[in-house]
Symmetry: C2
Subunit: 261 residues, 2 copies
């Protein structure tokens, strides 16, 4: 099942995507819902980010080749994470499928995509075991962890390197039926494939993260966990279109603009 | 004016604190409100955290002696931050005035308070100048940035060191009339004063942070910015009561428990 979030009569509402139609519901996938029987064309509505997270978690370094490539770029020794220590991103930076990534005027040229699987928490949960951790998940969506590498190297925190406005495209919807091992992530810039990797080829998998996180913290409905990216992402520039596809989920596409151009 | 948030007939509501009474309002301090004329005793209601932040910002190292003391403790060279680079904390960890800080069973003994001024954003804002930055603020509250120093030294991120459930007491209310230069922060453990400092003796002040942040990110009503702490905080243990007073704002008090004891 695919959950979309969209604007309906000026209000934010959830619906179920069926082919090219949205089936209207009362309620939402977290607290409960019922179908209204009304059906409308997906093309007639503006899709929103599929959830406004209460807490926005991000795994950061979580794929082996990405750790190697980032260390090479930063001129440091590769340092594989020893435990599933989660990080954070910020809600101000979220944009929906189709909305423009706007590169700040004074950013450098190393503004790069990172195609990521996003787990959306469906239930309040603490002290999950690895074997039941995935039961806390409503479904999965796609994230683009846009990053300005100069600021990432030089600032004391990741605040503007990863959390400038528009740097966190997320969507287009939440897919509830997912076989993690079958997924492939494919990145295209202007229609040309620039990266492809097994989505579940992570250093620490989704269940490992959720079990460790929930020893110390309560997961809440609507929390999101971005799972990191593989490889060596490429630069984005004004006029590009960046698409992240995860097979079985969908494609998140965003045009790129530079402020002031 | 002091804004409290509390439970009213099972719903979360804002009210205005006047002496020992709460004046009921319709609406809230962000979107607008009107007084209903109903007045109730503050003692008859349970106070909640004064806001659920959309984004939870934290300055981290922002007072000169604290930078020195933390470097000494970590066995590293003190490294004064060169710019107002903001960090983040997580909503799961927030608790209200009076609620217990629960130290996880496997935490070490270095679980410490950090008494902090918290700026609460009142208006959507971007590209603030330093001279108009404070106009985006609704008011100020108090935060206790509870930190487990072993995890802070050893983990790759601050996730459980600073964001374990209950590690972020915030409250008791939002004070809208504040003279930053007049404020003093006083910490007491079991009634004994353990720290006292000029609240505004920061490396980078509130206006400097907001101006720099808002060059790259949009501030939203209800965002909070925790401003860091001074000095060398002390350990907390099961059975303690930790109080953070900021003169002119109020006192945030929380008992301390250790899980499993």
């Amino acid at each position: 099942m695919r959950w979309v979030r969209y604007e309906r009569n000026g209000e934010k509402a959830y619906g179920i995507l069926e082919g090219e139609d949205i089936l209207e519901v009362r309620g939402d996938p977290f607290a409960g819902y019922e179908r209204t029987g009304t059906r409308r064309s997906r093309k007639a509505v503006k899709l929103l980010i599929p959830v406004e997270p209460r807490t926005f978690y991000a795994a950061g370094l979580n794929y082996p080749e990405h750790v190697m490539e980032m260390a090479k770029k930063h001129g440091t020794q590769p340092n594989l994470p020893k435990a599933a220590d989660i990080g954070y991103r910020a809600n101000n930076a979220l944009i929906a499928d189709g909305e423009p990534i706007v590169i700040p005027a004074d950013a450098g040229n190393e503004v790069q995509y990172e195609g990521e699987l996003v787990a959306v928490i469906g239930k309040k949960a603490k002290h999950l075991s690895e074997s039941d951790a995935l039961s806390s998940i409503l479904g999965y969506t796609i994230g683009n962890d846009v990053s300005e590498r100069g600021w990432q190297r030089e600032d004391r925190t990741l605040w503007r390197a990863k959390n400038a406005d528009t740097f966190k495209p997320m969507g287009p919807w939440i897919e509830t039926e997912v076989d993690l091992d079958a997924l492939e992530t494919i990145v295209r810039v202007n229609g040309v494939e620039t990266d492809r990797f097994r989505t579940n080829h992570m250093i620490f998998g989704v269940a490992t993260f959720l079990a460790r996180m929930s020893r110390y913290l309560t997961l809440y409905p609507g929390d999101v966990v971005w799972m990191g990216t593989e490889g060596a992402p490429k630069n984005l520039k004004h006029g590009d279109l960046c698409e992240i596809e995860i097979t079985g989920i969908g494609t998140l596409g965003n045009p790129v603009l530079r402020e002031g151009l």
